[in-house]
């Protein structure tokens, strides 16, 4: 069996990047379904206010779905931002710094969003 890790890892050729491509699409479908689930609940009869809004997010299944979407968004945005940095930022040091910033930014936002849904 050929070695495909460490210094022997194959980083070129066909299918390199299909994992990122697939994860971006799977997470996109999840976010689209979440949007649909949220819009349907907002449009259900009843006055739009704090009680309706917080009621939507108080259901356990909605908390779990929102959590999955938060993680999906972080993964999806990571792939997208990495693409942008790789396309436009050529100096390796600056690109690394921006990629690290993107990860920190997304993890920070994800943590905050999770805190919002689970302290209710």
């Amino acid at each position: 069996m050929s070695t495909n890790f460490g210094s022997k890892r194959i980083v070129v050729g066909a299918h390199y990047g299909s994992r990122d491509w697939l994860s971006q699409r799977v997470t996109a479908v999840l976010m689209a379904l979440f949007t649909l689930a949220l819009v349907v609940q907002v449009l259900l009869p009843g006055e739009v206010g704090y009680y309706k809004w917080s009621g939507i997010f108080s259901a356990q299944w909605m908390k779990v779905l929102t959590f999955v979407v938060i993680v999906s968004l972080a993964v999806h945005a990571w792939v997208g931002m990495r693409d942008i940095w790789m396309d436009y930022v050529k100096p390796v040091g600056l690109r690394l710094a921006l990629q690290v910033f993107s990860i920190v930014w997304l993890l920070g936002c994800a943590g905050w969003a999770v805190q919002v849904i689970w302290r209710l």
Binding site: F57, M81, I117
Partner: protein, 142 residues
């Protein structure tokens, strides 16, 4: 042989200064706006979570969330917050519709030149129309 090699045209990526004069087909406009809208939402993510936080945490914070759109926040007036939200609404709609277009193309292999053009125009038009409708609601026109 050496002479013909020298005469071959050289195509490079467009330079940043060519952007104003470089004309893109509709699919190209959808593509670059997909990127711009994604980057915009990435940068404004803390603002969205701040709104989400205030809208959900308590009745008091919900009132604060609602008043941001009328009274503003800090030195930023309410109309500016509304304008930023309108930008986010467009970014979300364009990114989502352009994304669905991608998924549709992946699943059905609808990648002819005509399909690419017509679906790009549909993407641009539907995202702008929905943004106008939601924007009218946001600014209290109906």
């Amino acid at each position: 042989m050496a002479d013909t090699l020298k005469e071959r045209p050289v195509y490079r990526n467009i330079h940043i200064s060519d952007i104003r004069t470089y004309r893109l087909p509709p699919a190209g406009i959808v593509s670059i706006l997909h990127r711009v809208s994604g980057a915009l939402m990435f940068l404004l993510l803390p603002f969205v979570i701040w709104l989400f936080d205030n809208s959900l945490t308590s009745e008091i914070s919900f009132d604060r969330f609602a008043s941001v759109f009328t009274a503003g926040a800090g030195f930023l007036p309410g109309w500016f917050i509304k304008l930023v939200c309108l930008g986010l609404i467009w970014a979300y709609l364009h990114h989502a519709i352009a994304g669905i277009r991608h998924l549709w193309m992946d699943m059905t292999h609808s990648v002819s030149k005509e399909q690419g053009r017509s679906s790009a125009i549909i993407t641009l038009a539907s995202s702008v129309l929905l943004t106008v409708a939601l924007g009218a609601k946001l600014f209290g026109l109906f």
